[in-house]
Amino acid sequence: MSRLGLLVSMPEELLLKNCRYVVTMVKGVLSNKDVLVSDGRIEAIGERLSKSGTVVDCSNKIVVPGLVNSHTHAATVLLRGYYDAEHHKWLEKIWSVEAELEPKVVYLASKLAMYEMLSSGTTAFVDMYFYPEETARAAVEVGIRAVLGPVFLDRLVSPDEVIRSLDRLVREYGRSPLVTPIVNVHSIYACSQETLLTAKEYSEREGLGIHMHVSETRREVFECKRRHGVFPVEYLNKLGLLTDRTHLVNLGWITSWEIRLVKEGGASVAHCPASNMKLATAGFFPFKEMVRGGVTVGIGTDGPATNNSLDMFREMRTTVLLQRNNYWDAEVRAIDALRAATVNGGRIIGKKVGKVVEGYTADLVVLDALSLRLQPLRRDNVIPALVYSATGADVAMTIVDGRIVYRRDRVAKLRSEVEAISAELNAFMERVTG
């Protein structure tokens, strides 16, 4: 087994030859093109390109931008299928297990999640979890892009401890090409005002993004109204926490005037449809109003403990389906979900990814164009095929920073490692919950 897990090769140059389709997200869908990757960047897209280095025959493949999971708790693969209930009841139970977490468990669980993500076309993710240095270590080993940091959550961690962890992370990964430190704030209801202001101050001082759950449940918004006299997004605005560094998650219970505040502040948002439905949060994420208002909307799976999948193809499909069900119209389309998961994901993580164009970083996904789920495939139905029909299982190869980090034809090599990790995680769960 490779020390780097799935990392298959690190060529200086990589030529994706004769791609049946290339979904650029800028110039539509191209047919029969070569994509040349050099030094981690897309150097050229054209015909009959040739270079030394690795050549991959893509005549039966679709090349799309790598998907960005705009909100997850990767290491909660540990808790996948552990408890199934409504949001607040679920959270109490999960926190009781998380109070017992150990660094090694987070490392192993993160690694398992990363394998799942890479194998289903996710090249980057925004993460909120404990022991982020363990997740960062796994990300570098596996070769996936991660935006992460320790979590301000008063009940489980002291703010001082979070600051110390952030300092370590910034020191170690401040210039990492793959790992970007971020200030994670669990939520308004899990943090005091003092903690929120501490998080804000740190974010301003270090120029880091802030990532937090907001307005997820009815209980949360009315508790906020009772405690602070305003709804959650208004409250964040009052504290100066709505800026272009802020990334807000869920927002099923946001009011129309708060949507304007999000826009004016320049914050981005993540929609997590499967998790919201599974936890029965009963809100209505106003996708159309957000997009029309110019807000950058991404898509997140949320953690595997609430989804229970990290497959962004499934999440794109769920996004469109839920929005159509909510609005009773078909205005939100497949391309909107794909844009949210690629172009907007790139904006959210502040990287030049999410498009297949010259000069962009080569975070790419190569799908099997012969997959039975996608037939009969044509240039004009590639995008609906990707969003409505494809699943992560159709991914043949994943490329991050120009490096091939996943190949479906070599996944058997991982089996023993995956089995060993699963056994350790199950032993931990038995110890803690048994």
Binding site: R218, R219, V221, F222, K225, F231, T255, S256, W257, A282, F284, P286, K288, E289, N326, Y327, W328, D329
Partner: protein, 229 residues
């Protein structure tokens, strides 16, 4: 799911009530608050007393209460009225016809959160022009009883709106910048017949101008007649 319908007798609450039945919910009663003031933030006043006849037409019991219509006080009245619906009919949820008013949606939710009731607002953020067209197409017969907006003349008052009227209203809404489904209180409606009505409401009245852009259809008599009448 046992629910009550927050019912004003207008097109939106009547449509939401139908949605609840079609969802398979058990609609146990209508809940109606009659505000003393015409400018209530939460509840519609014109012709609200006629909801008693609509309740008969639907064959549903009604929890009816008068409220001052004053901001905050009316929320307390809503809490008490919903509590009564819970006591009498063991309802677990409330169905509302809220379209786009966060003030109404969030206040109803504040009260219901405290009472442990779920809230269903099926019309929330729906395309308003499309909704208006569908209402007429699906057999909801309603009249306009009050107009408070520039651009919508008194000729629309007091008669059942046709699909042609709706197209005209949608065009006027676009030209004069008001909401075609009257979400902002531009006009008030009264449903006289709907798919689940067992009787039709027959009303007679007259048009009165009450301001530069404000008219009322004063209902002088109302009675239930056969749906085929």
């Amino acid at each position: 799911m046992r629910v009550c319908s927050l019912f004003s007798g207008g097109k939106d609450s009547t449509y939401a009530l139908h949605w609840a039945f079609l969802k398979g919910f058990e609609v146990k009663c209508l809940v109606t608050l009659e505000p003393a003031r015409g400018d209530s933030w939460m509840f519609h006043r014109p012709a609200v007393s006629l909801t008693r006849l609509q309740a008969q037409a639907l064959g549903l019991p009604q929890v009816y209460r008068k409220t001052t219509g004053e901001r905050d006080v009316e929320l307390e009245d809503l809490r008490e009225t919903l509590s009564e619906a819970v006591r009498r009919y063991q309802v677990e949820g409330v169905v509302t016809g809220v379209l786009l008013s966060d003030y109404q949606r969030m206040n109803i939710n504040i009260v219901c959160e405290e009472l442990g009731l779920r809230v269903y607002s099926p019309l929330w953020r729906k395309d308003q022009s499309r909704y208006l067209r569908e209402l007429v197409d699906m057999g909801f017969e309603f009249i306009i009883t009050a107009i408070d907006v520039y651009g919508l003349g008194p000729r629309f008052l007091g008669r059942v709106l046709t699909r042609r009227d709706v197209e005209e209203i949608v065009a006027l809404a676009s030209r004069y910048g008001f909401n075609p489904a009257f979400e902002g209180g531009e006009a008030e409606t009264l449903v006289v017949c709907a798919p689940l009505f067992k009787k039709r409401l027959e009303v007679r009245g007259r048009v009165v101008r009450v301001g530069p852009c404000s008219w009322r259809y004063i209902i002088e008599s109302a009675r239930l007649v056969s749906v085929d009448a």
